[in-house]
Symmetry: C2
Subunit: 507 residues, 2 copies
C-alpha cells in the first residue's frame, strides 16, 4: 500500500510482509499463465514443482505466527480508524484470510494439492474415454478431503458453508438454497414458454470465420469498452481465463473456434469484464490482499454484466454490428441486425453449462449446487452421482446426456478442486450483475443511449467508482447494500430476463 508515511510501524511491518507474499503469489500466477500460453511441453514436470514450491512458500509466510501477532497488536490501531479507511480494511481483510489459512494444517493443504493434481490427471483421461469409473475413486477421496477441510472450521450450520466461504465469504448453504429455489421456480416456466416457440436461427454464426479476423475484432471491442492493453494483453489458451500480476498487468486469454463466431467474441468480453474490474482497483492497494475482487460472485457479476447485459444487448450491436458486418461481409452482409440479435440470444435446453444461454444457465448451476450439498450431506454417494446428474437434467432441462462426458464429467471443477463451493458463484454473479446494472441505469438513464453510440465511459465510470476501486475492501453483502441499497435479490435478474425475452419471445 502506498502513502503510508504516517502509519503505525507495526502496520508498515504487516504491509511489507503482505507485499512480499503478494509478490510470490503473483510470480506463481505468471508461472501458471505461461504454462497455459507459451510453455513448451517439455516444461511441464518442472513447472508443476515450481508452482508447488512458490505456493508453499507463500502459505508458510502468510501463516507465520508473526503475522498473527501483528494482526493482534494492530487491533487497537484498527479500532482507532474508520471502518472504511484503507488501513483498517487491510487489517480486517488480512485477518479474515489469516484466520482462515491457519485453520488448515500445511500437511493437509499439501495432501489436497497433490490429490487435486492426480484427480485432474485422471479426469483428463476419463473424460475423452467417457469412463466415470476412472475418476470415481478420485472423486470419493475428494469428497472425503472436502469433508475434512470443512471440519477444520467447526461451528458451521451446513457442512458446505466453510467451503462456500472460500470463494463467496459469508454466504450460507441455507440462504443459497432459498435463493436458488426461488430462481428455479421463476425460470422453469420462462424456459417452458420460450422453448415452446420456434427456436432462433443461429446457423449463420457457424460459418467459417478466420481466427485472425475474429481476434482483431474482439480486441477492438474490448479495447473500446475499456480494457486497457497498456496494462494487459490477450493470448490464446485452451480455456479462457483472467489473471492479475499487478494493477498494471492484468491479462486475459481467449479461445477462438473458426466455426463458431460467438465463442471467442463473448468469452473475450466476459474475460475483459473480469479484467476491467481488477484494472480498476485503487492503486493504493497495490501489493496487498485488498487488490483483488471481493468474491467469486462479485467477480462473475462484472464479467457477466459486460458479456450479457451489455454485450448481448440490442443497443450494443446497434453500434458494433455494422462493424462486424464490415469484417465478415460475405458471411454477415445479408443478415439483419434483428436476426443477429436473436441468434446471439437463442434460448435452448442444452447439456453443456458453458454453452448455455443466460436464461437456462442458472438451471445448470443449481443442479450442480444441489448435488454438491447432497454428496456432502451423505445422502448421495459418488457412485450414484452420474445417475443423479442425469435424473436432474431430465427433470430440470428435459434432456438426458447420452454420455457421462457430456454429463457429470463435463466440468473440471470437482476433479481439480473440492466438492462444495465450486458453482454458486456463477449464479450469484448473474443475479448481482442484474442488480448492479439496474441501479446503474436508475442513477444514470443515459447509459443505454451512450452504449448505442459506442460510448462506454458513463457505465465504466459508474462501475469504477462504485465497484472496481474498492477491491476487496467490502464484503459482497456490504457492497451490494452500499451500491444498490438492497441485499442480494433475485428480482432484478428476473425483471431483466422477462423484459428482454418477452420482446424476443412473446410471453
Amino acid at each position: 500500500m502506498k502513502s503510508l508515511e504516517k502509519s503505525d510501524p507495526k502496520f508498515l511491518e504487516l504491509n511489507t510482509r503482505l507485499t512480499e507474499i503478494d509478490d510470490i503469489e503473483s510470480a506463481a500466477a505468471l508461472l501458471h499463465w505461461d504454462q497455459a500460453t507459451y510453455m513448451p511441453a517439455g516444461g511441464a514436470p518442472a513447472r508443476g514443482r515450481q508452482l508447488a514450491t512458490l505456493r508453499q512458500i507463500a502459505h508458510e509466510k502468510f501463516t507465520d505466527p508473526v503475522i498473527g501477532q501483528l494482526l493482534e497488536d494492530l487491533k487497537p490501531y484498527e479500532d482507532s480508524l474508520s471502518y472504511d479507511s484503507n488501513e483498517a480494511s487491510l487489517i480486517r481483510i488480512a485477518r479474515l484470510s489469516y484466520n482462515r489459512s491457519v485453520c488448515v494444517p500445511a500437511s493437509f493443504m499439501a495432501e489436497l494439492s497433490q490429490h487435486r493434481s492426480a484427480s485432474y490427471e485422471a479426469w483428463a483421461k476419463a473424460r475423452p474415454a467417457n469412463d466415470f469409473t476412472i475418476v470415481q475413486p478420485y472423486l470419493e477421496k475428494t469428497l472425503d478431503l472436502s469433508r475434512e477441510l470443512a471440519g477444520f472450521f467447526p461451528g458451521y450450520e451446513h457442512i458446505a458453508d466453510p467451503l462456500i466461504d472460500f470463494s463467496d465469504a459469508d454466504m450460507k448453504a441455507s440462504t443459497l438454497r432459498q435463493i436458488f429455489s426461488r430462481l428455479r421456480q421463476e425460470l422453469v416456466p420462462i424456459v417452458e414458454q420460450i422453448t415452446s416457440q420456434p427456436a432462433a436461427d443461429d446457423a449463420f454464426l457457424h460459418q467459417h470465420f478466420p481466427e485472425t479476423k475474429q481476434l482483431e475484432f474482439s480486441r477492438r471491442i474490448i479495447e473500446r469498452i475499456g480494457y486497457d492493453f497498456k496494462r494487459g494483453r490477450q493470448d490464446k489458451t485452451l480455456h479462457p481465463f483472467m489473471t492479475r500480476f499487478s494493477t498494471g498487468d492484468v491479462r486475459i486469454t481467449t479461445r477462438v473456434y473458426e466455426n463458431d463466431l460467438g465463442q471467442g467474441l463473448f468469452s473475450s468480453i466476459h474475460e475483459a469484464g473480469h479484467a476491467m474490474y481488477e484494472q480498476g482497483i485503487s492503486r493504493e492497494f497495490e501489493g496487498t490482499p485488498l487488490a483483488s475482487g471481493v468474491s467469486s460472485g462479485v467477480h462473475e457479476s462484472q464479467s457477466r454484466l459486460w458479456e450479457n447485459l451489455v454485450g448481448r444487448s440490442r443497443g450494443f450491436w446497434e453500434c458494433f454490428y455494422p462493424q462486424l458486418q464490415g469484417v465478415f461481409l460475405r458471411e454477415l452482409g445479408n443478415i439483419s441486425i434483428h436476426k443477429f440479435y436473436r441468434a446471439i440470444n437463442k434460448v435452448a435446453r442444452s447439456l453443456i453449462r458453458t454453452d448455455a444461454d443466460e436464461v437456462t444457465y442458472n438451471l445448470h448451476v443449481t443442479i450442480r449446487f444441489d448435488l454438491e450439498l447432497a454428496m456432502l450431506e451423505g445422502s448421495l454417494s459418488v457412485r450414484d452421482l452420474p445417475e443423479a446428474w442425469n435424473e436432474r437434467y431430465r427433470s430440470d432441462l428435459g434432456l438426458v446426456p447420452a454420455t457421462d462426458s457430456e454429463g457429470v464429467m463435463q466440468d473440471v471443477h470437482w476433479y481439480s478442486g473440492v466438492i462444495g463451493g465450486m458453482f454458486q458463484g456463477y449464479t450469484l454473479g448473474n443475479l448481482m450483475s442484474a442488480q448492479f446494472y439496474e441501479t446503474a441505469l436508475n442513477i444514470n438513464p443515459e447509459i443505454p443511449v451512450d452504449i448505442e453510440r459506442g460510448n462506454f465511459t458513463s457505465l465504466h465510470q459508474w462501475l469504477q467508482e462504485n465497484i472496481y476501486q474498492h477491491g476487496r475492501k467490502y464484503t459482497a453483502d456490504e457492497l451490494l447494500e452500499r451500491v444498490t441499497g438492497s441485499p442480494l435479490s433475485v428480482e432484478p435478474f428476473i425483471r431483466y430476463i422477462r423484459g428482454k425475452y418477452s420482446e424476443l419471445y412473446p410471453m
Copy 2:
C-alpha cells in the same frame, strides 16, 4: 537430482533444499523472460519488486546456516565418493557457491542490486542523449561497490580476481593478461593484413528481408542443428538472450532487422548454441546447481562454436545457402555462395563490439578488460574513462568513436553490473570454442563432411557426450583438460583464424 534412493539422508535434505532454491530462481528467470517478451508496459514497477523479492528469498534460503551445516556434515560422505560421481560433484559445487554467497552480506547485495537498477536507468537516458556526465557519478559508485565486493574475498592476488571468479571461476587477472596480450600480439598483424586488402562486399545483406521470412528460416536452421523446440521456444526481444527454467524448458530470444540479414540469423544460431548446451545437461541434475553451464567462458564457447566455427563456415552454407536463396530469391538469387560466404565473414575495424567480426572481436574485449583492471587498480578514474576508451580504440583498432554513445557507453555491462569480470568470458569463449572444435575434428574428421550434408548429429553428439551432459560438474580448466587434453591455449583459435582467413584474404 533423481534416483537417490540409496543416498545419505543429509544429502537428500541438501538436495531438497537446493531444488526449492532452484525453483525460486527459475521462477525469477521466467519473470525476467516475460518482462523482456510479453509484459505490458504497465507491469514494470511491480515486476521489478517481484523479481527483487524472489531473488532475496532465494539468497536467504541459500545462505541459511542449515545449508552450511549440511555441507560440513556431508564432507565425509563426499570424500567416500569418487570425485566424478554426481553426488560428490553436487556437494562440491554447492559448497563453492555457498562459500561465495555467505561472504557477501545480504545488506550489501541489496544495496548493489538497487544501485544497479538506478545505474541502468541512468544509462538508458545517458546513452541516447550522448551524455557521459549523467552516468559518471553512478559509475563512480559502481567502482566503489565493485571494490567493496572484491574486499569480501580477501587474499586475492589482483582485486579483479574475486569479480572474475563470479563468472569464470578460478580465472585470474594475471593469467588473463598473459593470454590476452599474446592474443592481441597475434591478432593485430592479422587484422592489419586483412584490412589492407579490399573489403568484402556485403551490401546485399542490407536489402529488405521481411521479418516473418527471416524468423521462419532461422527457426528451420536452429531446429536442424539440434535445438529442441519441444523443450524450448524462440521469441522476439530487444536484446537476444537464452534462459532456462528447467532441462525441459530452455528458451531463446532473438531480434530481427529487416535491413540486415545477418543479425537475426547469427544471433539465433548463437543463442541456440547456448540453449543446446543447457538442453543437453544430464536430466539427473534437474533442480540442482549442477544443471547449468560451467562458466561464462564455457557457455560462450558453445554459442560461438555454432555461430562462427559452424555457422560461418563454407560447408554449412554449402548445405543451407540454396535454401536461403529459395526463401529470398529476388534478393539473393544472383549472389554466388562465394560472395555470400565472403560477406558473412567480412573483416573490418569497427566501433561496436556486438557487430564485430570474429577476427577483430577480441580486440574489443581486451580493451574493456584492460580498462576494468586499470579502474579497479586505481590507475584510471571514471572521469578519465571516455578518453582512455577512445585512446585505446585509436591504438588498437585505428578508429575513434565520434560520440561516447558509440564509445564508452555502448555496452550495458558496467552500467547494470559491476566493474570487473564483465567481459573476459567472451574472449575465453572464442578461444575455447576453437580448442573444443579442433579436438572434435581430430577425433571425428567426418564432422565437416556431415555438416556439408546438413547432418549435425555427429557434432551434436560429440558435444553432448563431452560437454553438455556434465553441466557444472567440472571447472572450466578440468573440462578443457578432460576434453582436449590441454589447458586453455590461444593457439587453436589462432590456427583457426589463420586457416580460414588466409583463404579469404591471402596473407
